[in-house]
């Protein structure tokens, strides 16, 4: 096989053993890598009904065929597990240098099973695999962990994927941090790592994959390095300030896409204070990159006393500016940068963290939570100090933080008193900073995606309203014509389906969505790496397998179509701003969801994958995992 290592490392922490799986080429071609591997192994190997934080759960780290090559956007991996936050399927993607290091150690994936009796880390190189004690690392931050591991191994280019105290304390939305600042953010995979007493996977190696057509890979890489700055949609802004640049956030604020006050409002008067452009002008120290990427979209910030934000821990992305900022009503940029740093040090998903704090704030303002509940913290919207206190309390599971560490769905179920109205989530996964009242097609994807509300899983309707070079790229995946952002016609659903499948293919190839490769170039790259006669049709089939297997995983856990629903708040207007006359038409949304099911080969009325679709995709084995009553 070319392009891949042909080896999947399997680690059983209960037994303290490591073994290697060597799947054949047909497996690689069918599931490709990343999300494809995650979806396959979760459904095949994780038993139905287990506690996600029990030893029976598995956590899977999977690379793609291009990972390890010096191509822009190729050093990425997918992490998957049964989610402690949603109780269902979780997959989440991340970049950095660690994915390249794991490939250079000679592995395409790591599957971790069981639970170690004591804290450990995994040391993986091209010469050895060892389960080592991490008792001296438990309680340390991600940065302290990486520094210690580099020092004790003597490998200055060692790369780590670690958890901080958020993962150790099994905060339900704890993430896994690659290196120091790149988060496999969503769904609580860091809590699964913590539940296994696994502190870190440290990787190093010098192995290089054999590539079928190195000249083509060089040609594609050179093209992107020379042209990315002028390509549509992503380019200049990403390179200069990363996500959340001034014009986008200010425009979003104008039309109702700046979530504030727990999505109760969608215009935030202090937006200009917290844009990425302001962030870079005020505290920025530079832009950094994942391995071999010219785009360098990762902003870094440094702030002196009393905040003491270390630039090594990165800077806030748009999602973090929105979730820890406007969604909490906080316009204090230094506080947001500090909260973002703490989230990286402690391994917390900034989206779920911010939305959970905002949920607490709304409960407090409506006297569902009191000063007694909060331990004396004045948990009002806009209180930056309270927001930071909550980050600490959640990471340590102290006081009210222990409740908010469960995520908004579980917290609202425990609090009661109508607080479910303030719980902004889909399937338990808190909403990202893209309001489906503005981007209604993305709202369909938020609803149907097995993982929950994932802003990377579909098309941002606002970016696809014009016939332009950017839209031309979408046509290659099945989009027909530009449509308004609030359109929910069958034609829009078809475009969203195409974009959803593209995202799942990308997550299986583990290629970054911020590098403006066309889908044709992505397919060419896979063909060049593997030597396969790869086509877009084959790529989209991989994506359909991911979506369908994820859906069956959820069905097996009792997560059915009644959970394919947006929060009630999304069906009404906001008091002010661009959505004051807004709100999604529920009948139109339900119709669009049914259309989406149908276009996916799932039953239009129940969302159950059809047997013919399973056959077409070559995954008939998955029918055995479907609840009998649900079979269509």
């Amino acid at each position: 096989m070319q392009g891949v290592a042909g080896k999947i490392l399997r680690v059983n922490l209960t037994a303290g053993t490591t073994t290697v799986d060597t799947p054949d080429e047909s497996f690689y071609r069918k599931y490709l890598g990343g999300a494809g591997f995650v979806s396959y192994f979760l459904l095949k190997e994780v038993p139905q009904g287990i506690d996600p934080l029990s030893p029976e759960n598995k956590i899977i780290f999977a690379l793609g065929p291009m990972t390890g090559l010096p191509m822009p956007g190729a050093s990425r991996n997918c992490v998957g597990a049964k989610s402690p936050l949603t109780g269902g399927y979780a997959k989440t993607e991340v970049g950095g240098f660690w994915p390249m290091a794991l490939k250079k150690a000679g592995y395409d994936a790591v599957i971790v099973e069981g639970k170690s009796p004591k804290p450990v880390y995994l040391f993986v190189t091209d010469k050895t695999v060892e389960i080592r004690s991490a008792e001296h690392l438990w309680g340390k931050t991600v940065m302290e962990t990486e520094d210690t591991l580099k020092e004790e191994t003597g490998l200055k280019n060692l790369r780590t994927c670690s958890i901080g105290i958020g993962g150790e304390n099994m905060v339900k939305y704890a993430c896994v941090i690659n290196d120091l600042k790149d988060a496999a953010g969503r769904g609580g995979v860091g809590a699964v790592m913590g539940s296994k007493n696994l502190k870190s996977i440290a990787a190093f190696g010098r192995w290089n994959p054999d590539v079928a057509d190195p000249a083509k890979i060089r040609e594609l890489t050179l093209y992107m390095n020379q042209n990315y700055y002028d390509l549509p949609l992503f380019g200049k802004a990403m390179h200069d300030v990363g996500t959340g640049e001034h014009s986008m956030m200010m425009g979003g604020n104008e039309v109702g896409n700046m979530p504030s006050h727990n999505f109760g409002r969608n215009d935030f008067p202090e937006t200009e204070k917290i844009t990425a452009t302001t962030t870079m002008e005020t505290y920025g120290t530079g832009m950094e990159a994942c391995a071999a990427c010219a785009i360098r979209c990762k902003k870094t910030v440094e702030i002196g006393s009393p905040w003491n934000v270390n630039k090594r821990n990165g800077g806030p992305e748009y999602e973090s500016l929105g979730s820890l900022g406007s969604t909490c009503g906080v316009g204090d940029l230094a506080a947001i940068c500090k909260a973002n740093e703490l989230a990286n040090l402690y391994s917390l998903d900034t989206i779920s963290l911010g939305v959970s704090i905002a949920f607490g704030m709304e409960c407090f303002e409506n006297e569902i939570l009191t000063l007694e509940d909060t331990g004396g913290i004045d948990l009002r919207f806009g209180n930056a100090e309270a927001m930071l206190q909550m980050v600490e309390a959640i990471a340590r599971r102290e006081g009210i933080g222990d409740l908010l560490a469960e995520g908004v769905r579980a917290a609202s179920e425990k609090i009661g008193q109508g607080s479910d109205e303030y719980a902004i989530h889909v399937k338990g996964l808190e909403l990202p900073m893209h309001d489906p009242r503005v981007k209604q097609g993305l709202g369909v994807v938020y609803s149907v995606e097995a993982h929950g509300a994932d802003h990377c899983a579909g098309m941002h309707d606002t970016a696809m309203t014009q016939d332009s070079a950017g839209f031309e790229h979408m046509r290659g995946m099945g989009a027909t014509r530009p449509l308004p952002a609030d359109d929910l016609s069958a034609e829009k659903v078809a475009s969203q389906k195409a974009a959803h499948l593209h995202s799942l293919f990308r997550d299986s190839a583990t290629v970054c969505s911020f590098v403006p490769w066309t889908v044709t170039q992505q397919v060419e790259a896979i063909a060049a790496v593997t030597g396969w006669g790869y086509t877009i049709h084959e790529a989209l089939a991989v994506a359909e397998r991911v979506a369908t297997l994820g859906r069956i995983f959820n069905m097996r856990e009792g997560i059915l179509m009644d959970k394919d629903v947006l929060p009630r708040r999304m069906f009404g207007p906001t008091p002010t701003g661009g959505l004051k006359n807004g709100g999604i038409d529920e009948d139109k949304m339900n119709n669009a969801i049914g259309l989406f099911y149908g276009m996916m080969g799932w039953d239009e009325n129940t969302g159950v994958p059809s047997r013919w679709k399973l056959g077409e995709l070559g995954i008939e084995w998955a029918a055995e995992e479907m609840p009998e009553a649900a079979t269509v």
Partner: protein
């Protein structure tokens, strides 16, 4: 018709010269797309636009006195 167009300055310059506030004259029945072309927006340029806080599109017909706010397409993560 008098139409005001404000283009928010951005890294991805929507107009060749960057941000701009302009009042332009357009015939009755003109659209947001006509306004953008009158300002010299390249065909490949990508933008979102709003009038009175609501998203509008290239084919949205404008009225005398409208103020169009133009900005980078809302996306990203």
């Amino acid at each position: 018709m008098h139409i005001t167009v404000e283009v928010l300055n951005s890294a991805d310059k929507i107009l060749p010269e960057g941000g701009k506030l302009a009042t332009i004259e357009l015939p009755e029945g003109s659209t947001v797309g006509d306004a953008m072309r009158a300002l010299g927006t390249p065909d490949t340029s990508q933008w979102n636009a709003a009038i009175s806080g609501e998203l509008v599109y290239a084919d949205t017909v404008v009225s005398d006195g409208d103020s169009i706010l133009v900005f980078t397409p809302i996306q990203g993560g």
